[in-house]
Subunit: 182 residues, 2 copies
């Protein structure tokens, strides 16, 4: 098998060809269940997903969320806005590794730093003039790869244009809610 | 100490009063560092944050991201779009618990289910006509609380209006990028 960036490039080509020929193969539904466990703590369970209408079984992962003591939690885990940064970082990482492999670019080192500013008067319901979420997120990509700076800048632009979480965070997405009383 | 939903309601009142008198106390910067560790796997490290310009120390948490085998990963952790659902769930959970406590409403049980549909032809660079991220996210809230359905519907609307991650996902946010070659 051919490998680049730890990715099986033959399998990557097959995946791209398969999704190109049969778009349904690229149709996924991902799921999560979040359970409030008291105070500001929650557990999110992630397991199976659906590809092309068929359930794909997966081991279960549990993600703990909690606030730090400064925000009246027990800091049993990162809080939600920190998890949001992790989701962005994880997505950019995958997108970089995959697109670099597709272009034959070897990555030596890749990391990201994120910072987000938030005025919690929105969350606390104290002001309607401040944004409820992050007002802005700053990111730095640290990249060491075997390609010219021009090629890497092009790769970076491609990553930004094709990263699902980057898209969902920087642009609007509809969230349809159903409220059920138990 | 008075407690509701596992939250110290005196401390919550103090936090709200303090942020109301001195808005800088509500000014936070959260951080994350994501390291690509090969293939589609990454580790995000979350630790200290800043409140009112002062660093608040925190233990370090590590979040592992990976793709499932169907997407050429080793499924060492949830993938990025699953982490995004976890961030939304964690945020809604915190916002519900806090706002319910502030209104004197006891929550007995609270959980959320999320589903997001995504056409990975966007990620794979195969189509510019499909959305790169989730096209839509569906959420169900399961709520058992000691209040009337009208009060709980009002609480639900308040949660949606004051949840930071809900805001950042459903609305646009600027992500400023710096690319550094190492």
């Amino acid at each position: 098998m051919s490998e680049l960036n730890g990715i099986d490039t033959d399998a990557l080509e097959n995946l791209i060809e398969s999704a190109s020929k049969d778009p349904d193969k690229a149709s996924f539904t991902f799921r999560a269940e979040t359970e409030w466990i008291g105070g500001f703590a929650s557990e999110t369970h992630i397991s199976d997903f659906t590809q092309d209408g068929t359930t794909v079984e997966s081991p279960e992962f549990t993600i703990t969320g909690d606030e730090p003591e400064a925000l009246l939690g027990d800091r049993a885990g990162p809080n939600a806005v920190e998890h949001l940064l992790a989701a962005i970082g994880s997505c950019l990482s995958v997108t970089y590794a995959g697109h670099a492999a597709a272009h034959g670019i070897q990555l030596n080192d890749l990391s990201f730093e994120f910072e987000g500013d938030i005025d919690l008067r929105g969350f606390l319901g104290l002001s309607e003039d401040v944004r409820v979420g992050y007002d802005q997120i700053r990111a730095t990509t640290h990249l060491d790869a075997d390609a010219s700076e021009d090629e890497l800048r092009e790769l970076h632009e491609e990553v930004i244009a094709t990263s699902p979480v980057y898209d969902n965070v920087t642009n609007e997405v509809t969230l349809d809610f159903d409220l059920q009383f138990e």
